[in-house]
Amino acid sequence: MSDPITTATANDLSSSVDPDLIATFRDLATAHGPSVRDPESGLDLDLALWSRLEELGLARLTGAEADGGSGATWQESAALLTQLALAGVAAPVGEHDLLAGWLLRRCGVSADARLRTVAVLGAGATEDSDGPDHADHAERADRPDRIARAVPWARDAHSVACLWQERAGWRIADVPADRLRITPGLNLAGEPRDEVTADLASLGDLALPEILSEATLRELDLRAALLRAVQLAAALESCLSLTLDHVSTRVQFGRAISRFQAVQHTLAQVAAETALARAATDAAVRVATRRDAGTTGLDDLAFAVAVARSCAGHAASLVVRRAHQMHGAIGTTLEHPLHRATLAALAWRSEHGSTQHWDAQVAALASAAGGEGLWPLITR
């Protein structure tokens, strides 16, 4: 993606990622992409790609070098996620590295090479309608069956970092997948989002001694939300580039439709909204990088992620709608590549919090800052 507006606004101050590394990511992603979605069964994990990522040390990009990781930061990881999303490659890099790897490292466990994801187990199988209320879970701590819904890539994971709440607090275990019941499910874009059922009674021997704080759970949630924001920003850039290509080559009334001012203005608005999503997301990635380096607090991360998800979520409304409008009927077909970008954008903006949720989070943080505290919050 070489849109000059996006790059001019996003990269001037922010990008500290080596361009050669980005080129490596891009070459790898385009060589393996795009992933092909079956409308019924969704997307399959490309095992050849996964092996290649592992060989190159990219599957555990942010893992500590002592643990077999590459010692990189959120910045490099975001660059990799961006290139994968731009090439339409579905892979659980973020779940494996930024979520499961991070969580286990926090608990003093050095994650091995096995593919991992994270499942936050909620209420038991018979408590479907109760929703994710933590206090409620604590009361039911004795019930053995716990369920996590929409767990990304659980079917492909060799091991699942499972979290559940007991009266004492949040517990965690690194559970081999064969000790879990996994029911396949898909998100809007056909990515694996499976239901994971765990029998707590049988996990007792695996539970780590750590009791995790609510703050850790909050940080996990923010990291997951940011992971999706990074993918979403890239998906919007794909929508823009596909649409630019289309309007420049589609001829109607004897000329490329890009010659019409209405089309030009529509594309300009798509580009502007996409650039805004990119700017907000890049800013949040910078904060996440500082957070991992221990130089900023969780509240900073919370605001930056909420801003990114709000901006990117609203951008998706305009970009997806206009991209389809500009493509005409061809863009609505399975055959055409547009849905890989538009459905991914819509899927990702609705995972780990709706756009409305993130708007409300920004409002709550702004309100807590107060009228005089708002500007310091924005410019922090």
Binding site: P4, A8, L267, A271, A275, L276, A306, D359, A363, G371
Partner: protein
Amino acid sequence: MATTGVGTTLIPDSTTLSGLRAEVRAFLDEAIATGRFVPGVDTWLGGYDPQLTAALAERGWLGMTIPVEYGGHGRTFMERFVVTEELLAAGAPVSAHWIADRQAAPSLLQYGTEAQKQRYLPRITRGELFWAIGMSEPDSGSDLASVRTRGERVEGGWRITGTKVWTSGAHHAHAFFALVRTAPLDPEHRHAGLSRFIVELDSPGVEIRPILSMDGSHHFNEVHLDDVFVADDLVVGAIGDGWAQVTSELSYERSGPERFLSTYRLLAALTERGLGGAETGAYVARLTALHHMSTAVAGGLQQHADVSSAAAVVKVLGTALEGDIADLADRLTEDDPGDGELQDLVRRAVYHRPGFTLRGGTNEVLLGVIARELGLR
């Protein structure tokens, strides 16, 4: 610009910038607390307060990017950006010096003669010389190449006749750059034959007439130039080079944080009162993202990059947001002066809203700029 050189080494580190931010913020907090000014909406255009301008100049916050040899402070665009953001977020009345500092100074530095720089830049930095914009005319809005103000060659200089309009602050300003046709319009080369002159507004033949805005406020003017003599030493750059100068100046006019912060005080007031819920949150998020984008634009200016399309994006999104904040506040409140402070902000925002997406290049024109950058035209 002359002293900043090329490259990235002059981008100040974030500690320097946050220190400067804190310094400006403390000054403004104190000024508000002592009643020196009341924070408002759109005060960079309509809030005239030469005493505040003088106080800011005293602290070195005017002419920041002007080189020291011209009386300036030789600081960076990033530092200036931080100061301007703080002034806007405080809703401070800064219109007296805004145009001089924002666009006249960089234009003079880029195109002015040595004598012109020496004559004007030190006084701009001291907060003593105010500038206005002499581009639009009654029949030339978005289509600036159609200006009809004419310049005729005479002994020792030029005689200029025509009318400039929407000239904010002309009644306080000492000079403007007049965009003038000095050769007949060639339909094949519409941008040729334009030149710029420094017109000192106390010159014989200059008449400034107020144009009141719909709320009764006075910042717009019509400036009539009736055979005004401008000496050769006040020609800016080369005769015939006016178009390039104007487009360059517009990039300074368009790229700053006043393109998303004009209604910031109103957004803060909504937040403080817990009004608007998630919708207010979405606007806070957008404003924050625009702060990041605008920071990147300032960084680009620092590195002498072409920021015109990135600036157009900020302006298109930012000015729409300014208006959306006004509209949200208007939808959330009844027009009943129960909360005087909020009421004042809402009314002023609603009065001023139509101008946000017009001034400095309409959003329609800017979408065209973005489309061109996208390769569509």
